[in-house]
Amino acid sequence: MLPELGEFALILALLLSALQAFFGIAGPALGRARWQDSVVPAVAGQFVMVLTAVGCLVASFVNNDFSVQYVAENSNSALPLFYRVAALWGAHEGSLLLWIFLLACWTLAVAIGVARLRQAFAVRVLGVLGVVSFGFLLFTLATSNPFLRLDPAAPDGRDLNPLLQDPALAAHPPILYTGYVGFAVAFAFACAAMLEGKLDETWARLTRPWASAAWAFLTCGIALGSWWAYYDLGWGGYWFWDPVENASFMPWLVGTALIHSLAATEKRGLFKSWTLLLAILAFSMSLLGTFLVRSGVLVSVHSFAADPTRGIFILIFLIVMIGGAFSLYAWRAPALRSKAGFEIVSRESFLLFNNILLVVAAATVLGGTLAPLISDALHLGTLSVGPQYFGPMFLVSMLPLLALVSVGLHAKWKRGGVVEARRPILITLGVGVVVGLAVFVGAFADAGWLTPVGIALGVWLILSSLIDPLDRLRRGLSLSRAVLGMTVAHIGLGVFAIAVTSVQSFTHERDIALAIGESAPVGGYQFRFDKLESVDGPNYDGVGAQISVLREGALVAVLHPEKRHYFVQGSVMTEASIAVKPTRNILVALGEDLGAGRWSIRAQIRPLINYVWIAALIMAIGGVLALSDRRYRTARVAAERAAAGGGSAAGTAVGEQGA
């Protein structure tokens, strides 16, 4: 009964989204007030229907209803309750439903947040979001229905992939998708502006918090995925430039450019067409990612079970949404050029190059990810691309960018003033260089030239971020949340640069064969194999080892890696054991029984790796701080008043603090 109810709810949601789309776009275009008034109820209705559908599927999982094919494929009666719920997004169909649900949540949030001002604009935004919802709902119902029944019902389920039976990985898709889907909002704002034919500073001020929110979620989602890969996959890697990873990274790069471009549009009405383009691009990258992951065109460790039919469907959807948006862009963007000017060296110019470099970086990642496809399509043979390509090529645009940020933070709007700021710039640069060289010289052989460069750039960036806020505090000015958020986020980026440089340069890793009682040296530590014992879990059993880690005779850590055998799927999983120290992580993973009492063991020491993810968290916090700035609430109030007054909203309000 419940699955049928869920399916029915999805069908209703599909109809409601069609109404939402139609009334949202045609209503303002044709000036039909009643149509425009129906949009928000349609949004609310769609949300309720989608929520119902999700509830039905969750209930099917919780109740172990193995007559539902999706439940039978992804769950098991021995699966703990938490994972039975998380299994909802364990495979393609359910994860699509998650997409749709999060889109409904964002749409509802937009309806609540924006509906009271410039009604025609708000309704257009919701209309565009309705088109996106419609597409995904149609795709789900047509090709990926999670409510299909099995007849006869399966006696028990195939169990959730053991890899997914982990709290971080359970949380990863919802948070990641919230970010992915969130860029649909900025996309909708852009389309609404293009449909209206009008784009001003108020638009930018309205859009910016939504874009920042999506960006913050995406940052956390990517970091969570990377962190999980490190501690759960058992080999200590954290980023592989796999197509699916790249599919999440490209929207992040474009999203970063977007939130910065919005700053220039908000402040000076500049880069309007850039901002529009970036808003379209960010969501396009999200959609492209969905396509790459589910269509089977690319080989990936992560991709869902591929199906060319699904691929065709998504491709058509892509063509409609992205092609449509880019057509709107070609039509409307030429009229939006502003007349504002700025000096060659000014905040605006740094933001311009920020845009350019981030787009080049995203294009680089896209090119590398699609290289096999492109090469094949042009009959240039089979091409393959991996980390040894992405790493260096990504740095081509990223290293200049890091340097530009450190200088650009000192630049003023319109007239630059960078020359006046040359003392703090050079001092911070000098400190960075000194630290970089000190690490390089003082530490470890085989650090390449990138090591001091990466550390110098990171240190320079952190110090540069602090100059302006400290200066303001010194002069007795308060720090607005926007400034604080910006500072925090840039510091996060600097920490990230230092952490990644450290990990890439100074990791020690060795696979060793040990018998009980034996020990071997790795990276300045001794790893001693103490004992082996059996382990038992709710749906697995296996063996666990105890490994002691010593440094100069003193015990540093005791680690317990395991090899688990999951009953239902019969798969064997390596659970690495990690000792987290302030400056480094020590990871041990259990390999194979080599016979004669010896086991293969991987020992890995990674300095500063935790700061990779801490840095991402810092960046996300910066984003959240920035979007909670008072002026966005003020902007809404001001826009509401202006809308009530009947005229179009004013641009920069006079006398506003921290503009």
Binding site: G311, G323, L370
Partner: protein, 177 residues
């Protein structure tokens, strides 16, 4: 004006690439072999069926032959076996088998149960010969001509249809011993 069409234009190109990608996607796991048109690797491996004897590439010089890589652990190999037996029965060309990373006893049992289409079977216990032939997934079947050059490679199970369509047309009128 025209620069505003760049995004749309680029996207159209991208969509074309993606569409082609979808069309080719079922084959994406299958990699073209660089050995086509090159001399077949030489080998000297233990004979599976006659312990103490060796199977050598030189035994087949001057003759066309089919080189089939298989293993008892491979489900697709089992599926293609009847087709191989049929090809052997037709007497058109000798089949040489490479038993890849397998247990000799299992392999001999398999051949006696399912039929032995091979004139010779070489046992590649450590996988070195397979690497020389660029094998990455069983079953794989090569067609070698009388000058010792690999002219075709089939990745995946052999069927009568594939034999008719891809292999037979390449054979000269009189191939075989």
């Amino acid at each position: 004006m025209n620069r505003y069409f760049v995004p749309l234009g680029s996207f159209v190109l991208l969509a074309i690439v993606l569409a082609i990608g979808i069309r080719h996607s079922p084959d994406k796991g299958l990699i073209q072999s660089p050995l086509i048109g090159k001399p077949a690797p030489s080998f000297a491996l233990p004979d599976l069926t006659a312990p103490g004897r060796e199977v050598q590439a030189s035994q087949f010089s001057g003759r066309w032959y089919v080189f089939n890589v298989w293993g008892t652990w491979c489900a697709e190999c089992r599926a293609e076996h009847p087709a191989l037996v049929a090809i052997a029965k037709s007497g058109v060309i000798p089949l040489v088998g490479l038993d890849w990373k397998d247990d000799d006893g299992d392999a001999r049992r398999w051949l006696s149960e399912l039929g032995d289409p091979y004139v010779e079977v070489a046992a590649d216990r450590d996988g070195r010969a397979a690497i020389d032939w660029g094998v990455y997934g069983a079953p794989e079947t090569f067609l070698v001509n009388d000058r010792g050059v690999i002219v075709h490679k089939q990745i995946g199970a052999m069927t009568a249809e594939i034999w008719q369509r891809d292999f037979l047309p390449l054979l000269p009128r009189r191939a075989g011993s």
